[in-house]
Symmetry: C2
Subunit: 221 residues, 2 copies
């Protein structure tokens, strides 16, 4: 078997900020999810679909990270969920200090769920802790089943792997079996969900999973 | 209209290396193309398709950039084209010094066409000059027509925009018109090609374009 090397950087300043951030989220019992993927894998479409199911039950906010534009913030607001945009300019990832600043604007209190949609990038965001409880890596079936092996750090640093756009499987050369095997080669205890935001396949399970996590966080002392 | 800010960094050490590299390519009359896109947009599939048409007419080599694996190098070699892999470990882009090192291994002389397949990343590679003649940005129709506005630096720094996987247009919500308009908002003189590596649509035009550029470089003194 091919050897896959995973490098872990020491990012002390961001790690320290993330630690403080994690403490604040713990105090407020806010579940924090950091979503990472390539551009166009469907992070915002997924949020539109799942948050519309959760928004009347929980107090939710979304932080949108993009190089430019406020498109994603507007899409989230259009479904009636609070959103705040970070425009990074040229920067390829979000950092804990930016999240802290935006959370002060949002208000830390009474937030059940905070979702951070990171900059579309399968490389750099993986190495920056944002104080999250759950890292999600999303891959769409149009991107190729080899990607977990080619971008191992982000799969290794994630808790959940969402395989998106499974409605397109008949039209692309993509082996689900191989993709999952490759992902498990990098991290064998990844929680894996297969979904389609076009026909809602798999969304019930994922919604239930997120709700379980929100409630578990509430019970934490 | 929304204001799009494009930041340009000063990367003096890499710029200096790229300048030397560009001089070497000029001396040897080698056309150099740097291909950039998100992971899974289809860079390697495109190279497989187009290089098989060119390999008997020109002396070609490919430098493959990936965080891990030699998969892409093996795919290029399988069609009978020389390929050399750069495994970046965790690094999110290639730099000119790495290209120089690999070109010394390949031999600078008698190379008509060098293709650099950059790390799959729509952010960071855009800011690193590799001594190329042509920067290509590739986007597939599954990634969304808003991407040129959200990742403006890479579109601004490119000469050619390849819209790939147009065979999937019937199955996705993607407006070609909007994508091209967005790209031209960022850079109005982009050369644009629409292709499918599944049914070969658009490949004749792109092949002809590349051959014209190879021959033009040969005529440069």
């Amino acid at each position: 078997m091919e050897k896959i090397t995973i490098n872990q950087k020491i990012l002390s300043k961001n790690d320290l900020n993330a630690m403080h951030l994690r403490n604040k989220f713990a105090t407020n019992k806010t579940l924090v999810i950091n979503m990472m993927s390539s551009p166009g894998s469907g992070k915002t479409s997924f949020l539109e679909k799942v948050l519309v199911r959760l928004k009347d039950k929980y107090n939710i906010a979304v932080i949108e990270g993009d190089l430019q534009t406020e498109n994603d913030k507007q899409r989230i607001e259009a479904i009636g969920v609070r959103a705040i945009q970070i425009q990074t300019g040229g920067a390829c990832h979000l950092e804990a200090s930016e999240i802290d600043k935006k959370c002060q604007e949002l208000g830390y209190e009474n937030l059940d769920l905070l979702i951070i949609e990171n900059v579309g990038n399968l490389v750099c965001p993986a190495e920056y802790d944002l104080g999250q409880d759950i890292n999600i890596v999303m891959l769409s079936v149009t991107e190729g089943d080899d990607k977990p092996l080619k971008y191992p750090t982000i799969f290794f640093n994630s808790d959940i792997f969402i395989l998106n756009k499974i409605d397109l499987l008949p039209y692309v050369d993509f082996s689900v079996e191989k993709a999952l095997e490759n992902a498990r080669t990098i991290k064998n205890n990844l929680d894996i969900f297969q979904i389609s935001c076009r026909n809602d396949e798999g969304l019930d399970n994922l919604q239930a999973f997120i709700e379980t996590k929100i409630l578990a966080k509430k019970r934490c002392s």
